[in-house]
Amino acid sequence: MNRRIEPASEPRPAPPPNRRASPRRARSMASYFTNHLRAFFASLGQLLRTPLPTLMTATVIGIALALPAGFHAVLSSVQTVAAGWEGDMAQISLFLKPSVKEVQAGKLADRMRAMSEVAEVHYISPQEALAEFEQSSGLRDALAYLNENPLPGVLVVRPAAQFAEPAAARGLLRRFEAMTEVDSAQLDLAWLERLHAMVGLAARGVWLLAGVLSLAVLLIVGNTIRLGIQNRREEIVVTKLIGATDGFIRRPFVYGGMWYGLFGGVIALVVVNGLLLSLSGPARQLAALYHSNFRLELLGGAATLGVLTAGALLGWLGAWLAVGRHLRRIEPV
């Protein structure tokens, strides 16, 4: 073994001289990024060295994230279909003044057809209205006593898709009401508004669920990181003794939490898309029975990004909170 002791000329006292001509600021910036990059990959390596526990924690996080993400996917499929229904169902009936003759009504209908807010206009003349009424009411004999048709002409307007939603349809209704030819206008919204309220409630439910489960993710990550801190207590003590700042010690744990969250997000995506795929066939069959074009869509780009970001952020935050609480208590003795 080599036991050579260096002559005295070698060691130089601190502070270490700037070896390179690089300015101090550039140096400290570089070391800042190096420190972060190091912790970023070191924490990843640390997790991958114990793949099974890492996978288990990430799976728990993944399930917690998958629940709101899955409900969100189902809900947005429902919303797509509901938007289709709105387009079909939103109808504005314009009852024309008795003085408006059929030719005028036809012109008005043409004018409306030219509006971008309107998808379709259908004219029902007073005669057609009467015939329809006779048929549906069974009052043919009674009506025969009337020497004049009491029914007005009606324009049935279907708004364009963007104006089918309740608030916009109501605005359209008010504009039509103001037209000189129109006596009164009517919009049947109850069904639509009920559907909207239900979807809105469900959406709020999904957000609440997401909130509660985010808290769960914070706790899971926090607890995992707390155990990690306990296991590496001695290492923390020693690095503190050598002059590590709290930030330096915190960094690998916080990045570790971020990785956990990110892995959890990936697992959530796999779980949700897997479930959606396996359910989409039966769902389509069921919808076909109801003559609906309902389809379960996989998570879109924005939702995918959202799940991954939420996972990483929650992991980061959970770790940060846990480290802040536990690190201060570990002091060298």
Binding site: N2, R4, E6, P11, A14, S31, F33, V238, I242, T245
Partner: protein, 225 residues
């Protein structure tokens, strides 16, 4: 470099480990700190490294009054020191190389080649150049001690604090390590060594501070020996 003014240290248990200790060590001086087991040597070193705070009195290190040094500044204070511990305090899960590199990593050294060069220079000085890939458990007590010494000097500290640095070394190795400390002292590093190896201390021509039951026998204003 080091000044103690009427320093006392009472542990929460009530034990008075140091009583009214006053002394000074000049910049570039090499001083031994001796005394019986439990005399307070480790405690004194811990006060310098701010591992413990004094119950009374003032500690000034490198012209900095530690009494008023906030928690946030402690890491930067420690980076100027090189500490060698009685129980080595190596990271068991890291290789010898990584252990020695730690002070550089903490200080934000980003140049891998520079780090490697400095770590190998430090390991070379303690005669462990061939063992950089080993883990602490694979080393003997003396070898671990020397890894600890390499780690203490790798970042070229202004002040070297050593707590029983030769406790596990054979006489030849002890002499070489002491020669290494002297080499550092000659280039301006202040060295304070706690030891009860009287033979070794006697052979070397350096000032000796003696603690007895927490009292400094030959500091300033201390009872004459």
């Amino acid at each position: 470099m080091i000044e103690f003014h009427n320093v006392a240290k009472r542990y929460p248990s009530g034990h008075a480990a140091l009583r009214d200790v006053s002394f000074a060590v000049a910049r570039g001086e090499m001083v031994f700190l001796t005394g019986h087991s439990g005399a307070g040597k480790s405690t004194l070193l811990k006060l310098i490294a701010l591992i413990e705070r004094p119950s009374a009195g003032e500690v000034i290190v490198n012209e900095r009054n530690l009494t008023r040094l906030g928690r946030r500044h402690i890491p930067y204070h420690r980076r100027g020191l090189g500490m060698i511990f009685q129980d080595y305090r190596l990271l068991q899960e890291r290789s010898v190389f990584d252990n020695v590199a730690l002070p550089l990593v903490i200080a934000g050294e980003y140049d891998q080649r520079e780090t490697g060069r400095r770590v190998r220079a430090a390991l070379d000085k303690v005669g462990l150049l061939g063992k950089e890939k080993y883990y602490p458990v694979e080393l003997s007590g003396g070898e671990q001690q020397r890894v600890g010494i390499a780690r203490a000097v790798v970042h070229k500290p202004v002040l070297l604090l050593a707590d029983e640095p030769t406790g596990n070394l054979d006489p030849d190795l002890s002499r070489e390590i002491m020669a290494l400390f002297e080499a550092f002292q000659r280039v301006g590093v202040t060295v304070l060594i706690a030891s009860h190896d009287h033979d070794l201390i006697a052979r070397m021509n350096h000032r000796v501070l003696t603690l007895h039951q927490g009292v400094m026998l030959n500091g300033e204003g201390a009872p004459a020996p």
